[in-house]
């Protein structure tokens, strides 16, 4: 399926990309994170197990087990620090 990816804040700067289209072979958030980790470099480093990041699907934060749908808007970002 095709996913519309967005990256914010520190992760946007580390990855060097604000948005991109990704073709996912799997079906869940975990599958997506694994596929991005497999790019190596900063992707493997920032998305490694134990690192703190959030994933939102269609603008709602979800758990790693969440299922994805074609053309979903997926955002990956650090824990929030507003207020």
């Amino acid at each position: 399926m095709k996913l519309n990816m967005l990256y914010f804040a520190r992760l946007r700067e580390r990855f060097g990309v604000a948005e991109e289209s990704v073709e996912l072979a799997g079906t869940t958030v975990m599958d997506l994170v694994a596929q991005l980790q497999a790019r190596g470099g900063v992707w493997a480093e920032e998305l490694a197990a134990g690192r703190s990041f959030r994933v939102a699907v269609n603008q709602e934060i979800v758990a790693p087990e969440a299922a994805l749908t074609d053309n979903a808007e997926i955002a990956i970002f650090p824990p929030v620090t507003g207020g």
């Binding site: 804040a9 520190r10 603008q59 709602e60 955002a75 650090p78 929030v80 620090t81 507003g82 207020g83």
Partner: protein
């Protein structure tokens, strides 16, 4: 209910007056204003830039105000959060809650602020003498919001 994300400064008095305008059922308005400090993590902060996730930010703020409305009987809520570059002393966020009685207004104002700190997609980047740095999320913010778990 009013939710605004803006670069411009806001006026607490004007916002509270707007909530009260033409109403006589409001017995209490509790408000909170968060400000940019000149010090964080032991070093001086010269400025900060606030980034957010347009679309999700407004949805997340609406969701936590909905939760506050379930827990307390509220008459009106205003949340304004600024984005862009801010200097020490600048206002960052305003939460104002109107209710019939002070207890509900105080509690809901604190709940909304605690929930905002951990759930609304804003990020701060500070400018210091040593360069720029992204602010890390604080464990104390998780502790603060956990107090409200039923």
């Amino acid at each position: 209910m009013k939710i605004v994300v803006q670069a411009e400064v806001f006026d607490l008095g004007a916002e509270v007056n707007a909530m009260r305008q033409g109403r006589t059922d409001i017995g209490a308005v509790a408000s909170f204003v968060g400000l940019a400090r000149d010090m964080n993590e032991g070093s001086g902060v010269q400025a900060m830039t606030l980034e957010h996730y347009p679309g999700m930010t407004e949805k997340a703020l609406a969701a936590l105000i909905d939760e506050a409305n379930v827990r307390w009987t509220l008459l009106d809520v205003t949340v304004i959060h600024r984005v862009g570059r801010l200097l020490p002393g600048d206002s960052i966020v305003l939460v104002a809650v109107a209710s019939s009685h002070r207890g509900e207004a105080f509690a809901a104002c604190e709940f909304i602020m605690d929930a905002l700190k951990t759930r609304a997609p804003f990020w701060k980047k500070e400018e210091t003498a040593e360069g720029e740095r992204w602010v890390d999320a604080r464990a104390s913010d998780d502790t603060a919001v956990a107090r409200w778990a039923k």
